[in-house]
Structure formats: C-alpha cells, structure tokens
C-alpha cells in the first residue's frame, strides 16, 4: 500500500506543477522558425525579452518542411519564419498568413557561395570548374531543399548543368549535409548559403561566386492568422525587421541590405555584395590562422562568429 501512496503523492505534486505553469501571467509567443535561423533568432529573443519583459518568445524549431503540416493540424502559432520563402508562400496559399508583402517583410537574405574542403584540393575557382571531369560535386535534392533548386538554376544559367549532374556524387536532403560532406572531404566542392558556409569556417574554404551567378534568396517572416497575441507578435516582427534586428542577422552571415539589385531570376545584378563576400573569405582565413587580424575592416560583422569558432577545434560555442 505504501507504494501506491507514494505514487499518489507524486501525481498530486506533478499536477500541481502543471497547473502552476498554466496560470503564468506572461504572454508567450509561439514562433515557428526554421532550424537554420536558430543562432540569429536566439540572439533576437534575448534582446527582445529584455526590452519587453512581459512577453516571452517560445521557438518551435523544426526542419522547414515540417511546418506546413504542423500549422495545418494544430492551427497554432504567432509568427512564422521558415528557412525559405517557398514555405511561407505555401502558408499564404492556404490562408494561414494574410498580409505577406515581399517588399517589406524580408529581414534577411541568403547569398550563395562555393565551399570546398580546406586547402581547396581540386582548385575550384569559379562555377565553371564544377563541370571539369573528376570533380566530386555535392548537389541538393530539389524536392527536399531549396539549395537543390538553386544548384539547378545556377548551373543551368552557366550552361553546364548536364556536366555537373554527371559529376554529382551526393544528393543531399538538407543543407547541413552538404556542409558536413565538405568538412569531411567527401566532396570536392558545392554551393551553399553563406550562412551555412560560415558554420564550417575551420574546415572549409570559401570561394565567392561571380555576381552574375550569385543568388540572393529572400527569407521572410510573417504573423500567422491564428496569432493569440497579435499585438506582441507584430512588435517582435517589427523588431526583427528593424535596423537592430537586421544587424543581428548580419552577424551570422545573412545579407540584410534590402537594396541589393536582384534580377527576375534572383541573381545579383551588380557587385553590391562583393564586400560581404570578402568578409566571408577573410573570416575563413581568420579562424584557421590565429595571427590573422579580426577587425571591422577585415571580417565586418562576422568577428563574433570568428571568435566563437576559434575557441574550439570542433565548432561549438
């Protein structure tokens, strides 16, 4: 009988916790955000919660592909920031999001860059090099990740898609897979977002793409139709879109300048992002070489990221 008593006591205490939690007075926002934005958004959450102490931000990080199903089933959530505009448009199409404006609701952009294993063993310098025989290229699967679509678009624009496809040795389902394959020298080169490349500074070399083939990808945010705290959600969204919020994204290798001239297909029209590319290349050098100066002039806003990765041999924080 004693055992039963213990269990009952335990149950009562537990349900007390449950009730205590639910009676909390603070407003907590449910933010559906893509896994890839984790580092930047965690920083934004910190700043935002300090500014508005009665609003808490709860992320529900998942792979972007899971969100539509989640939102459809649960009809829950205040904000939505998937890893690709494609998913947000799906939400718009289903009426989960009513006021998306691609001109104003994009706090940050992905930029495409080439990454190769440390030392660039196959000497890849430009897009065209991927077509050379004997290069092991990693491509994304266009059905499961946006980078795959961009691989196809970029190489088709350069007129070498068939040759590159023949060189492909990896069909990745998500973008970190490409990063890891490069890090472990399983492929000789691939194209990823700058935000992904920056995570592997110690083990990869970064090669900027000529601006004609440099893709700029919108990363939008929106308030969902079923938002429980619409006002607070809008406040958070405004903060993300503000100069300060964008600054945080910039520290994690997102392009944030809304004025980058982009063609209809999504490629750069001029060298506005060249400086940013230079910072990225320098950051890769700085992590590998302790004597490389880390200043605003050399690595721009990536200094924090460089210092973080310098701390350990295997990236962590």
């Amino acid at each position: 009988m004693k055992k039963i008593n213990t269990m009952v006591v335990f149950l009562v205490i537990f349900s007390f916790f449950l009730v205590a939690q639910t009676y909390g007075t603070e407003k907590s926002l449910l933010f559906h955000a893509g896994l890839g934005q984790r580092m930047a958004l965690n920083e934004i959450k910190e700043v935002f919660e300090k500014r508005y102490p009665d609003t808490k931000v709860n992320f529900s990080y998942k792979g972007s592909g899971y969100f539509i199903a989640d939102i459809t089933r649960s009809e829950q959530g205040d904000l939505f920031m998937p890893g690709e505009e494609f998913y947000l448009l799906q939400a718009v199409e289903r009426g989960f999001l009513t006021d998306y404006n691609p001109k104003t609701d994009v706090p940050a952009y992905f930029v495409t860059v080439i990454i190769t294993p440390k030392g660039n063993p196959k000497n890849i310098k430009a897009i065209e090099d991927f077509a050379k025989p004997g290069i092991r290229v990693g491509l994304g699967n266009p059905k499961s990740c946006a980078i795959g679509i961009w691989h196809e678009k970029t190489f088709k624009k350069a007129g070498i898609w068939e040759k590159v496809k023949a060189n492909a040795t990896l069909s990745a389902k998500c973008i970190p897979e490409l990063g890891n394959a490069t890090q472990h020298k399983a492929i000789d080169g691939t194209i990823v977002w700058a935000t992904t490349a920056v995570l592997y500074l110690r083990d990869v070399d970064i090669i900027p793409i000529e601006y004609r083939y440099r893709g700029i990808i919108r990363l939008p945010v929106g308030v969902l139709k079923f938002a429980r705290y619409r006002e607070e959600a809008q406040k958070l969204m405004d903060f993300i879109l503000s100069e300060e919020g964008r600054g945080i994204f910039q520290k994690h290798a997102y392009a944030v300048n809304p004025g980058i001239p982009i063609g209809k297909e999504g490629f750069c029209l001029d060298g506005t992002t060249d400086k940013f590319m230079e910072y990225l290349v320098n950051a890769a050098k700085a992590v590998k070489d302790e004597s490389f100066p880390v200043t605003k002039e050399t690595v721009g806003d990536l200094a924090e990221e460089v210092l973080r990765q310098r701390k350990t041999e295997r990236a962590g924080d």
């Binding site: 939690q21 984790r38 792979g63 009809e75 970190p176 890891n180 295997r314 962590g316």
Partner: protein, 268 residues
C-alpha cells in the same frame, strides 16, 4: 557449457565468438573514432559547459517522469494481458503493440489530432497556453511512445511467473489485489526493474515524435537526441560529437544497470 574451441567441430563456437567480438570491436571503434575526432582539449571544453549538463538533466528527468507514468499504466495492463481472458483481448494486445510497430513520428502526428480538439482546445484557449509546445509536450510524446512498450514488457515479465503461486494464494483466502501486491509483484520485481530501464532508455532516445509534435525550444524541450539534431543542423560538430558520447555513456550505464539488477530475468 564449456566447449573447447580446439576440439572436433570447434570451428562453430569459434566463429560465433569471433562474430560477437568483431561487432563489439566495430562499435568500440565508432565511439573511439568520434572521441579522437573531438580531441582532448575539446572534450574538456564541451564537458565543462553548463549547457551540456542542463540538457543532460532535462533528458534524465523527463525520461524518469514519463517512465513513472508508463509504469503506472504498464504494470496493471501488462498483468491483465498476461492473466485475464476478457472479450477482445487479442484485439487489445494488437492495439497495444501499435506504438512499437509504427514510427514515433506517426505518434507525434496523431497527438496533434487529439490536443487540438475538445476539450483541449478549450483548455488551451482558457489558460492561454499551447498544449504540447513545452516540456509537458515532451513528456506526452515520451509517455505515448513508451506506455505501450512498457505494457508489452510487463506482460512478458508476468508471463514468466507460474500461475500456481497465485492459485495457492487465492485458495488461502487472499483477495486478488492482495495476491497481486504480495505474491506476483515481488516475484516479478527483477523483470519489472529490467523493463523499466529499457523503457527509460527508450524515452530518453525519443526524437521523431518531438520533431513533429513539439519542436525545440532551447533549454526547455531539447532533450539530448533532439539537441544533437539541432546542433548538427547548426554545423556545431563539437557539440554533436560530445553529446553523442554522453548519450552512449548514458546508454551503457542503463544497460549495465539492467544486467546487474535484472540478471535473472529473461525479458531482455
């Protein structure tokens, strides 16, 4: 049974032992290579971070709580399945097997269907919380996945106890409940503890259901396996490797504990 490996036909035991040793060597190599990859400096660095141990304790306490609830359900239902013949007991046994057979991802998806309907939608609205988006969601997923598993293991434990002891106890005038607590439960103790550890390990390894149903909030719902996935996506291989090592150590201790406690039961 001591068969000399050199005697006639000794190649067969030698082959079997050889296979066992090889597969163990492969697993040890996996762990060792990860550790070498991480390096000594980084091992110390990551193991000294509070974030690692916060996640570790989160994993430990959530699995412990959900295992307790699973046991509350699993012990009586396992006993029922093992001893009593009630209408449709075959059907019940099959349904109980479901969460073991179907992927936990499916369980996660189904939980949406339940928690967003009456009366939960009403509770959620009234208290202004999202059911399942916090640590209780983790517990719910772990419990849903492991409860049936637990009942199954308990059934196996009770099956091994001869019914004669119960008959004797009943014939001496003890009530069914008294018989259960005084005779069956003590006899099944080893099996129950062994199953409990398996259930615990299963709960601590749950990830797919969480991915669908809960999503990760740092420091709140990211139990170890989920955190490994998160950090893998963030390119933080140091975290991934060091957390994998902690997970392996956790699993090894769980299995060793099970061997020591439930040594005489054959559930496992």
């Amino acid at each position: 049974m001591n068969m000399a490996l050199g005697s006639r036909g000794g190649w067969w035991p030698a082959l079997c032992v050889g296979t066992a040793v090889t597969i163990v060597a492969v697993y040890l190599l996996l762990v060792a290579s990860n550790w070498i990859y991480l390096g000594w400096h980084d091992t110390l660095y990551f193991f000294s971070k509070s974030r690692m141990w916060e996640r570790f304790w989160l994993t430990v306490w959530t699995s412990t709580v959900s295992t307790s609830f699973s046991l509350l359900i699993g012990i009586p239902s396992g006993y029922a399945l093992s001893r009593f013949r009630f209408p449709c007991h075959h059907l019940v046994a099959s349904v109980i097997d479901l969460p073991i057979v179907v992927s936990p991802a499916v369980v996660g998806a189904f939980l949406f269907g339940v928690t967003t309907r009456f009366p939960f939608d009403w509770i959620s609205e009234y208290y202004g919380v999202y059911i399942g988006r916090n640590v209780y969601g983790v517990l719910l997923v772990q419990f849903t996945v492991t409860a049936a598993f637990c009942a199954r293991l308990m059934k196996a434990s009770f099956d091994m106890i001869p019914t004669r002891f119960e008959s004797v106890s009943r014939s001496l005038g003890a009530s069914p409940m008294r018989t259960f607590f005084k005779v069956v439960l003590p006899m099944a103790k080893n099996g129950i503890i062994a199953s409990m550890i398996v259930v615990w390990a299963r709960a601590a390894a749950e990830w797919e259901g969480l991915m669908l149903f809960v999503g990760a909030t740092e420091g709140k719902t990211d139990i170890m396996p989920f955190a490994i996935y998160l950090d893998w996506n963030g390119g933080m291989m140091g975290w991934v490797t060091s957390m994998s090592i902690v997970c392996i150590l956790m699993a090894v201790s769980a299995i060793t504990a099970m061997r020591m406690i439930g040594g005489r039961s054959s559930v496992w």
